[in-house]
């Protein structure tokens, strides 16, 4: 299969024809369309939005509003003011834990996460529970790598306040049944918070149909710039949340002894917003919409199936996670006793970029019983030649370490 968007559209890849970039789950490369949008914003429309009483500032304000609208539409969120811009998934999840969490979770309450969460969707809840004297509960995974729904069902009860879970695992690529989990959470009156960092870039997401209260994502993992992400939320919940940070833009009136808050989305976006990167992310959404997320998904599935089959066929290679059809564009694996970091170094010498380590998911690594794995992940610019390079590199590593891998 050839690339879905030509490498030439990505200046970094075009400049380095030999580079085999297989770390898109960490961050994607940036297409010309996004880089151009960033530059055009700063060259034509840059000013501090919401504040200046002049035409240029009004233009910046309008660009920011339009970017929000475009991104909300991409994610199937009709009420665009319920798309809150953040720095990324991490900030979006911390926002929910700090604002909603502090206002709603008390001693004896329960917070449920899964054993496969990224630290960004694990630590904020763990710490909130410690701070509040709440019970932090971890739902284990079923053999197929997805959240064990039977165990989850048994775990939920009247004290459950939050169920925080991932859409797609950044280690295993497993895809969780978001709607079903949201229904279970709502069944006991709990908040359903979904970490969409690995879902948003790879699967069609229709927020208004997903059933969750929150969906957090990072722009830089979906062709957008670093430094911008989104918290998609339900108005009913957002309206009742106290501000997360205090400062400019988020206030209505500041009296000497108290303040009142601006409306959504501004209440939750204190300070000068990141207009440039929002515009860049809107350009990424435009590009992905033009291709169609169904085709993005199909392209990744074809790549992941090939990678899975070819890697599994190599003696000593162990691939973690479900069968290719049940996963997103991620393949985590180990090669005999070749440590993943050594493997990454050997691949790097051949200009093949993979991730090695615990992938910010130490609880999951413990459950898998490994300290580290190698991870190859795919996106729209990858093609089969990238898998050839990966497989050849793995074979080289095996030879370098000798065949007697134990």
């Amino acid at each position: 299969m050839s690339a879905l968007i030509d490498r030439d559209e990505f200046p970094l890849l075009a400049r380095a024809p030999e580079l085999v970039y297989l770390d898109s789950a960490a961050t994607t490369q940036k297409p010309r369309a996004v880089l151009d949008a960033l530059r055009a914003y700063y060259e034509h429309d840059n000013a501090n939005p919401h504040r200046g009483a002049y035409a240029l500032s009004a233009r910046a304000t309008e660009r920011y509003r339009a970017a929000r609208e475009r991104i909300a539409r991409f994610f199937g969120l009709a009420d665009a003011d319920c798309a809150i811009f953040t720095r990324g998934t991490t900030e979006a999840l911390n926002l929910v834990a700090a604002s909603w969490g502090r206002a709603n979770v008390g001693a004896g309450d329960e917070i449920v996460v899964s054993g496969a969460e990224h630290h960004a969707n694990f630590v904020p809840w763990q710490q909130l529970a410690l701070e509040r004297g709440a019970r932090f509960r971890i739902c284990e995974l079923a053999p197929d790598g997805r959240i064990d729904l039977d165990q989850l069902r048994a775990m939920l009860g009247p004290r459950t306040k939050v169920v925080a879970f991932h859409h797609v695992s950044n280690v295993l690529g497993t895809i969780n049944p978001v709607r079903e989990i949201a229904e279970l959470a709502h069944g006991v009156g709990a908040l359903a918070v979904c970490d969409g960092a690995q879902g948003a870039p790879h699967l069609p997401v229709a927020f208004d149909q997903l059933g969750v209260d929150f969906y957090a994502l990072s722009g830089h993992k979906m062709l957008g710039p670093m430094g911008i992400g989104v918290l998609l939320g339900r108005r009913e919940v957002l309206e009742r949340m106290p501000p997360y940070m205090m400062g400019g833009d988020m206030i209505e009136f500041v009296h000497d002894d108290r303040s009142t808050w601006n409306v959504l989305p501004h209440k939750l976006e204190a300070g000068t917003p990141n207009v440039g990167d929002a515009v860049g992310l809107a350009a990424a959404a435009e590009l992905l919409d033009a291709i169609g997320m169904d085709r993005v998904r199909a392209h990744e599935q074809a790549l992941v199936r090939t990678a899975y089959e070819r890697l599994s066929a190599i003696e000593g290679v162990h691939v973690y996670g479900p069968a290719p059809d049940a996963r997103s564009g991620v393949v985590s694996f180990t090669v005999g006793d070749v440590h993943p970091h050594d493997l990454a170094t050997i691949l790097d010498a051949r200009q093949v970029c993979i991730r090695a380590g615990h992938h910010c998911a130490q609880p999951l690594m413990r459950r898998l019983g490994v300290a580290a794995t190698a991870r190859a992940s795919f996106y729209v610019y990858n093609d089969e030649s990238d898998i050839d390079a990966l497989v050849a590199g793995v074979r080289t590593a095996k030879e370098l370490f000798g065949h007697a891998t134990v």
């Binding site: 993943p340 970091h341 170094t345 051949r350 380590g357 497989v391 080289t396 370098l400």
Partner: protein
């Protein structure tokens, strides 16, 4: 693209063949002085939070000289081989002598060609190739950082 896999990988880059040579892999797979001491004079643990490499070091002294040393840990071939070879280089040395070897080792990792030829480093010279791979320097140095901490704890 052909669906079939090539029979084997291409030849590795020369600096990698130099690094992942027999002696390193041997220390990685059969680490020397692996284990713990029942009554260590100093015990330290060092972790590289970025990659999860881990070294626990136990030292026992006779006066100023290292009598026994053991380590446990997990991680890549470079971190574990470095630890294993380091423990061999320590036996019977005084703190001052160890300091000198440690300095020489860091110089070698930093790319000093004279250090890479220095007989005082013995087998440790097998790790000279890591100099060319800056992202792996912390792996090679992990055990040595544990050692520095152990020596300074002891005072």
């Amino acid at each position: 693209m052909p669906p079939s896999d090539p029979g084997g990988g291409d030849a590795p880059a020369p600096h990698l063949s130099a690094l992942y040579q027999e002696v390193i892999l041997d220390h990685y797979r059969r680490p020397r002085n692996r284990g713990t001491l029942e009554h260590p004079d100093v015990a330290v643990a060092k972790k590289n939070p970025l990659c999860g490499d881990e070294i626990h070091l136990h030292l026992a002294f006779d006066g100023d000289r290292v009598r026994e040393v053991r380590f446990t840990g997990q991680g890549c071939a470079i971190s574990q081989a470095s630890a294993s070879m380091m423990t061999q280089a320590l036996a019977g040395k005084t703190a001052a002598e160890i300091g000198a070897v440690a300095r020489r080792f860091s110089e070698m990792v930093a790319g000093d060609p004279a250090a890479a030829r220095d007989a005082a480093l013995g087998e440790l010279r097998a790790l000279a190739g890591v100099a060319k791979i800056p992202v792996r320097h912390p792996c090679a140095l992990l055990a040595w950082n544990a050692l520095a901490e152990a020596l300074s704890t002891r005072g």
